[in-house]
Amino acid sequence: MSPSPCEQFERMLEEQPDGPLSAGATRHLESCGKCNALWIDLEAIRGAGAEWGSAEVEPPQYLWASLRRQLESEGLIRERPAKAGWLWVWFGAAPRWTVAAASVSLLVIAAFLAGYQHAGSKSATILPLHLSTSTASPRLIAADLGKTLDGDVKRVFDSLPESNPALANSLRENLGIIDDMIADCEKSVREEPDDTMARDYLYGAYEQKAVLLATATDRSASEGQ
């Protein structure tokens, strides 16, 4: 038994719910009030759906902060400091800056500075390894550490031997990199004061600066001897 025109029409709708209607279906609609009503209703539903979809929906701002906290707690994300240069090469592989990383950085910076005066195999013997244990925990760094460090910078530069401008240049260049990082971290902390990760990064950046200055002081002292 062949399907009725109404059954054929509904089957066509199932296969092509958005049309276009065939010539046969259009003819059927003209002669069948029931199918015509069905078609009009379905079009109305489709239109209402489209209208609903056109309304702008905005997720709340705090959703990202919440998601980010979750990602951090799972260790899925890490920060990428801007313009970190060679420091990022050393620390980029770590998920975040930590006190441990600061200890490693001491060796890197010390080796770098030592290399200016004692190139080659000698550099390995003059690393001020005792400083690796002197890196303070970020929690011990006071909020005004930045200002204190700025005072130290002047003192350290004053102590550098005039006979070694390369050392001063190297220190200036590396301080520039670290200051840039500090500025970025401070901006992040200002924007998200409750973000513990941002604060950790700031402490880490301060610590980098302290370590660099301590190393430069040691270098200067060893040359004076």
Binding site: A44, I45, W52
Partner: protein, 214 residues
């Protein structure tokens, strides 16, 4: 020294953001989130009809995305992949909530219990007068079985094509079309029921009003 990072983040393209996110870059994650959060949130909200739940589901969808982003190889469009994840997250939630569970497979062959299209039971057809009230539509969508609801929201509300829905819902294009038709038919029935109840309430109110006057 000028800091250029914020500009770089804004200009980060999706492909680059995905590559960086696969390496755990926080800014790349945020970029991906900003690119897609509205659409995913809208999908969740329209599927569950509740803002708190939609927020929770959006977060869950992105969380799953970021957990799995290392496995994304670009065989399908990233947004399709993300929306597939989001739809699955929503469906999981809906099915947990629903006593009468209706999986997509079940929805493919609907029956009376799963909420599939029902035959008329004697009630006269009620035209929707060519227009559908948004509030009623949302109420009706809320009563659809999850499978139908997904297809309707994805196609008619969110504007996905059937070939995209086929990927997202892991079904054939023909199945997507057929499900959409059945979802609309069920919506029509629900909307007609709303109209009938409204008409009934109006009649009762009129009776009560006229009765009270004597």
């Amino acid at each position: 020294m000028a800091r250029t990072r914020p500009t770089e983040v804004r200009e980060l393209g999706e492909a680059e953001a995905i590559r960086r996110a696969q390496q755990g870059d926080a800014e790349a994650f945020e970029r991906i989130y900003r690119l897609h959060n509205r659409r995913v949130y809208a999908l969740c909200l329209r599927m569950v009809g509740n803002t708190a739940e939609a927020e929770d589901l959006t977060q869950e969808a992105f969380l799953q995305l970021f957990r799995k982003i290392g496995t994304f190889r670009g065989e399908s469009a990233f947004s399709t992949w993300l929306h597939r994840l989001a739809v699955n997250v929503v469906l999981m939630r809906l099915r947990k909530k629903s006593l009468a569970e209706t999986s997509l497979d079940e929805a493919t062959e609907p029956d009376e219990e799963s909420g599939g299209p029902r035959k008329d039971i004697g009630a006269p057809d009620l035209r929707l007068s060519g227009s559908v009230d948004r509030v009623n539509l949302e109420r009706a969508v809320d009563q659809l079985p999850p499978g139908y609801r997904s297809i309707f929201v994805l196609h008619d509300v969110q504007g996905y094509e059937h070939n995209e829905i086929a990927v997202i819902m892991n079904c054939s294009i023909g199945n997507s079309k057929s499900q959409l038709h059945k979802a609309r038919m069920r919506l029509r029935e629900l909307l007609q029921e709303f109209e009938r109840s409204r008409a009934r309430e109006e009649r009762q109110a009129a009776k009560g009003g006229s009765g009270g006057g004597h």
